[in-house]
Symmetry: C3
Subunit: 670 residues, 3 copies
């Protein structure tokens, strides 16, 4: 989806306000360049305080004010936080999970499969849509919010799971064999007697149940999309606020949602990205999670939430809010929406601060956000709808993530998969190489010069075959340890590893252990023997020095590198560079730029076909960069006047202040 | 309550004895100077082994023996540990808590609101009172023991809570607004439909429920006091064994009991204080918790339990038991009662050792306790009923403690509030400045020259106004971070911080974060801007160096210091000293003394009007102190004969052995 | 039980195989020298996939193939992992435990006392026995597997416990007194009203319930043994796969099984031993746990499971599998059976790897195991049925283990008891002194020159008296802290400690604490005073330097050493050596050998009366040892040809490669 201006704004909650100040808020927003608010996603009990009693006063107030001040509105359906009366409507509105039944209190506690929940959810959505669909200020809808399966595994969900299995395995004997159920007397020869899956020690069942839970989420989205679509105007978009594996900040692929499938029937992908700040601000999460979001629909995406002041330890240093904003846009986002406009005066998120502190007056963050908003007004049309054409891709896969949460590497536990992904994502980011995220399917591979396949633990044979074919046809792959180890049901293959792709990789192994005091290696080490491959690195170890840690193999017209351990970032970068040198990697869609180890560079092509380069200084140093790509215009930079028309000749230096972003536009005819 | 001799003794459990040795025990006690035992608080199943079957054999034995040996007895009502048959009398005798229903086994597992529990508790109390009220040896009653609400939150307690709320908020809309219930769809528009509070994410509800639980405890005490008062003789006292926030030792204010309210209808405050020992013995807990206890009724208090040999890691070094005993008395306690006379041969507290080890013969602790007991006999009348008149006070408040357990500082979690209290208490103790503990109410302030207000997170506006008034009228305040942040229901104020008291403080702030690598700062840092205040300290930080860490403001006739972070102890002491120097702090009721960094000094005025000074050597050094206050008598000291009449001229030195206490009395006419 | 060849093999699971390869497996086994497989212990759902439907296809296949290839079979009864249909047969098939009811999924989840479970278990055992008892290849039976009580404490088990108590204590008043139930109102005067024991704070009840749970296990074994014995041929043996306290490897005595009692009606003791590997391979677990197993029936024992490749961090270095195999045999084992033949392709133990990796082809471990198997074929008859006659014993006791889990030492928690055992076991192993494990009963002591009694917390008076007698009669004892502290019901003695044995020890104490900064001491320190004993070590501590840390006492014709703390290994070794020097310890059944600190030596006498010495190099150094004992034959050694007839003169050196085992046989007439 293309936008006609960068969406800049915040979540807004008139219903949380300690006193009426809607006019004041809107005035302050307009002054700050804010053009969009997101409302209503947590409001069910406000719209419907008692069953069947509706009160849309706050909604009307917000829409009226928004229209008066020319602010666009994204409406969230309010279904992710249920009113207390609804919790009592049935015994299992609150989801039955592995740890017992959810209790009333938090949001995201209900069972998405409950027909009673669905009935009342449908009614409130319809009531809401009737009120908002024709309001001019409403530009789009967010379906629910940060939707997960909430670990539903009560009797209804388990019964649905058995039906889902029956469908996949008409013969229960095949099921027993594929899932290895003879082990520990787990065999089930009768679907009607299917046992409780909650404490299963069979990872195949456990993982398949997680896949089924992801399907529940996708089905739930599609159900809401159908309802909303009955009312919405054609130009209004539908999105979702996807989130990510959570490490007290956004870390990587979400384990519980198949976002790519879920986004299919949406207009545009949306997400929230939160990240460390102050001295720990790196931009890595903005890149890694932003790339996942951009790849969901291979298009620009929306940042529906990101931190303003955020959590206590996130209070940004001067300049960091602006740096992050350009980092999102440079990555292909078409919006920067903060969570949230005002800090909240009660309840659990009171210390997760918005743009305004609890005193609701102008402050440092408001002033910095005003600067961003007003810069976006000036230069937004030159940096929105950015086209990014990358030649490098990383394959990401929910089933492999699940597989590695059952069988983790040395120290990363349930994050083992995302940790490997992040090691490569962060290495590429350090190298200023931009990449796409692709699913493990054949047709995705061919457009890329280099495909990185981290820990693809669970894979269909068809995909592994297509990797061989891709390399044979001239593609280049970097594959890590554990890839191809198990099939899509986590059954480990019974032939030599790595299954199928050992053909293009030219290696094999059958032993693995954790590296202890093996320099440069962490988490995992496979004892690889080269067949046709060339050894790049071996283990510095008394007994296992004969085995390879990294190899490269020429196969057909391409090259396949295997990395049998999780190396240090420096080694990963060297291995990537080595492959790129070998294949003489060249990306015709990218401009060259002077590298600096503390500066991340992102680029794209804007609507009028100009290259735009974002130089992002993730440090508190002042840095000078030489503009080697040709004549450019400085769109913004803290040392420069925004949209001031400062031009920069080829070979001229420009200045990045601490935590600064400088954006250069290269006229197409320069 | 005044005593006619220091109460010195131990908890005594004839019913736990492996064989009959009551005569031997009493003989040993008398020889050791023990004059009081506390009995019966854990004995319900012994008095009433089956429902309605009573057997007071052990009770009679103990009272008979006590009377024979001239030992006083404090009777505990036995209601805090219920018999197994009572646990089965109703479904919810055992409290339903946040973590499910309590099970039978431990003490303190029942629901204080259960009418069935109350019925049987009343009967056993009445039976017991009939037996003991007229026994000459019985000097007082302890109501229950270490009573807490035991986290009761079953349906009955929650229904009582809703009534309690209705009473406070006749209009449910006011309640919704004050508690911010629109947030995350928590709104409740119908009292009859009030949801389960157990997993609430609304801190205002959670905190109010804790306040309600504290009220349950107070009500329970008053109910027992009424029953006991029907029987007791007028000269018999009523007390309770209050305890403290527990960190494997007594740490600070108890989160679950409003001790000040609870003590209102008692004769005298009693408590237990346990603390680290050996090289970790500091006396800090004796001071901090003792000051809380003394302040409950602004009077002398009873130490009803403290460690003898105690836990395995507490085995005292020679001299430490005696040092601790004088530390309690010097702090205003009128008793030192050990838990317990003899180590127990079965069950969970077998390794929490009493005066006697399991072998029940004379040992090192018995010998040291004999020394204390015989010293008390000799000099007790000169050190009991000590009058302490302090000019410094610390404000302590249960609601602020609760508030900070919901919104803790960097690393202290649920102890965040007490950690700030302790930082100031320990700094004052290091400076040999004695202080009182006061509640946040207007009338308490005026008698003090200096009031310290640590982290008063939750405050009524009336009190904040009275702080302004107190300073304006010439008072001096030290206020820390987070004070005045929220109202009594934890709703954060929506004007500039610190709410109301920024007037006397002359500062404001709206940003805060955790200090990372900010020298001298821990836990919290507010980015303070001075309005009329003078900056004392700023943050040593690249981006936040412009903000103040500590400020002082002249306001009316007084001074108000603000400390925006939790500084190191040394900095806290310097800031306190700076303010004291500025106001030329002087306390006419105290004698001067030579300071030594390892020696804590406590003082008071005894019944004949003499000053008594306690020099407490918390180190294993031998220390000589110069007696600068005037002519004195050495009442005790390990290097001196007790009550030996050793006099000390002004300017003469006296000797403290390792872990020694020296007590000096200054004749009023000297 | 004597064997006619060393049993060498693995657990085999045809039913887990991804495809039919039974012939291939058997061929590979035979080639590797494997002569025995253990099957069927986890197979109930395969034999009986639906209630009453039986299918022994896989069983028949395995027996047929085994017979074709001349491989012996041990049959496991399949009762430790129940089918899902059985879990649904009654409400409490799945055990009710302290943490709620077990759920379906894992093995070892059922209640051994359930009559419904017993009914179906009996049927499947009988069906199985009918199939296998007369098959020539079947050499023995393993009853269930790693059987524990699974913490059963539902109503039925608790009712059985009350009967068990009644039996022991006809008078409930005695019970109350012995268990100290007056404490905290726990008194019970009516058996019919016995309260739930699950949360008891009375360690005597808790510990007695654990003893009762151990009895459930013993009873269960005897019940199965009776059934199996109805069918089995006389020459077929009955065993059990006992396991050990689990620290992610086998650590020490199992807390939940009374293995000595349980083994009474078995033919031979069997066990599994797992241990760290790679640089952390020490052989300590093979010795400590193997000695427990050998002592169960004072006879050779079977290793029914040990690791092949094992867990990820256990992948053995070259040579380590062979080293471990000889370590087991040298310790008196008559078998080395790996868990398991092939790595499993599904479920929770997929990464607990067998001999073969998932690819099921020859690999490094298969090659090393082939070497072992073929060496065993060559020299097995010279090293099997090894007779070990030790003069040193360690007393081990379940009740003391339980007692110390209730009252642990400083840092070892529930492992406190085994940690003391291991400190002494490992010190003896470092000194190359072999020892037996004996129970605390009188008749065991007399055959030993030195008896070590670690932390015998809970002891019957009769045994303590027999220790006095043993020493008086010329025996030598090393007794550690906490010994004799409590009686068999954990009631702490009320006379001077150590109870009774202070007579032979010549010491007493009544104080103890944790050692902090006391050089060489850890976990515990008793402040011991010598009565008649001589002090060997005192504490290096300012206040407690007057107390003894180790003492020795001449008593009658013997000597008794007391160790009042847990010293460093070096100190333990010095103390043992000191006692041995003092008594001029000499073992006529052992040959002398040159010591090397990295080489463990084990020895025994083989069937033809020759001494066999095992030199086990637990290091990656090459080591040369001088053969001081006399002329010998090198049976095996990696630097030598196996059974090659290499002889070694007295005083000649032989070579140990890294992680090598050299076995020497000394002809009886040399």
């Amino acid at each position: 989806m293309k936008v006609d201006r960068l969406l800049f704004g915040a979540a807004y909650y008139d219903e949380y306000m300690p006193y009426d100040r809607i006019e004041k808020d809107m005035e302050m927003m307009v002054a700050a360049g804010i053009n969009t608010i997101r409302i209503a996603e947590s409001t069910w009990s406000t719209w419907e305080p008692e069953e069947g009693v509706f009160d849309f006063t706050h909604l009307d107030r917000m829409l009226d004010a928004a229209e008066k001040y020319g602010i666009s509105v994204i409406i969230g359906t309010p279904t992710y936080a249920i009113p207390s009366w609804l919790a009592k409507m049935d015994d299992d509105i609150l989801a039955l999970t592995h740890s017992g039944q959810n209790t009333y209190g938090p949001r995201q506690n209900m069972d998405l499969t409950s027909p009673v929940y669905r009935k009342y959810a449908e009614r409130i959505i319809r009531k809401l849509m009737e009120k908002v669909a024709n309001r001019p200020c409403v530009i789009g809808y967010q379906i629910d919010n940060e939707t997960h399966p909430y670990d539903t595994c009560g009797p209804r969900a388990q019964a649905m799971f058995v039906e889902y299995l029956k469908d996949k395995f008409p013969d229960i004997k095949t099921f027993n064999h594929e899932f290895g159920l003879d082990y520990w007397s787990n065999r089930v020869d009768n679907w009607d007697n299917f046992p409780d899956i909650r404490q299963t020690i069979n990872a195949s069942i456990g993982a398949e149940y997680q896949a089924f839970q992801r399907k529940i989420v996708t089905d739930f989205f599609n159900w809401q999309i159908d309802i909303v679509s009955e009312y919405k105007r054609p130009e209004q978009f539908i999105t979702q606020n996807f989130d990510f594996e959570w490490h007290n900040y956004s870390y990587g692929m979400h384990p519980d949602v198949d976002q790519r499938n879920a986004a299919k029937n949406m207009t545009v992908a949306g997400c929230d990205i939160y990240h460390p700040s102050q001295d720990r601000l790196t931009g890595y999460e903005i890149t890694a999670c932003g790339n996942i979001a951009r790849s969901l629909k291979d298009d620009n995406y929306l940042i529906l939430e990101t931190e303003a002041q955020g959590n206590i330890e996130w209070l940004p240093y001067p300049g960091q809010l602006r740096l992050n904003a350009y980092s999102h846009i440079g990555n292909g986002a078409n919006s920067v929406m903060y969570w949230h406009w005002h800090s909240i005066h009660n309840a659990i998120e009171s210390y997760w601060k918005g743009i305004l502190s609890h005193d609701l007056v102008e402050n440092e963050s408001y002033r910095e956000i005003s600067r961003i908003g007003n810069e976006f007004k000036a230069i937004g049309s030159q940096i929105m709808n950015l086209k990014k054409d990358n030649k490098v891709a990383i394959v990401l896969d929910n089933r492999s993530l699940t597989g590695m949460s059952y069988f983790p590497t040395g120290t990363n536990g349930k994050s083992s998969y995302n940790a490997v992904f992040r090691a490569f994502s962060d290495a590429l980011t350090d190298m200023n190489i931009e990449y796409d995220v692709i699913p493990p399917d054949r047709k995705s591979l061919s457009k890329y010069s280099l495909v990185i396949i981290p820990a693809l633990y669970s894979a269909k044979e068809a995909f592994l075959l297509s990797v061989n074919k891709y390399v044979e046809d001239g593609g280049n792959a970097i594959v890590t340890f554990k890839s191809g180890f198990a099939d899509e049901y986590l059954k480990i293959h019974s032939d030599v590893q790595p299954h199928i792709i050992r053909e293009c990789l030219g290696i094999h192994y059958d032993q693995f252990t954790y590296p202890k005091d093996v320099p440069g290696c962490s988490e995992w080490m496979e004892l690889v023997t080269c067949d046709t491959a060339e050894e790049l690195l071996h283990y510095d170890h008394r007994y296992w020095g004969q085995y390879s840690a990294a190899t490269i193999n020429s196969y057909g017209n391409g090259n396949a590198m295997y990395i049998a351990t999780l190396p240090d970032g420096a080694i990963i970068r060297e291995l990537i560079r080595l492959l790129m040198d070998r294949i003489d990697f060249y990306d015709p869609d990218k401009l060259p730029f002077e590298r600096h180890k503390k500066v991340t560079v992102k680029q794209g092509i804007n609507e009028i076909g100009n290259h735009v380069l974002f130089f992002l200084n993730y440090s508190d140093d002042e840095i000078r960069i030489n503009n080697i790509a040709g004549e450019a215009v400085i769109l913004t930079g803290r040392a420069y006047e925004t949209a001031g028309g400062t031009t920069l000749g080829q070979g001229e230096e420009f200045l990045l202040l601490p935590w600064d972003a400088v954006v250069l536009e290269y006229p197409v005819n320069s």
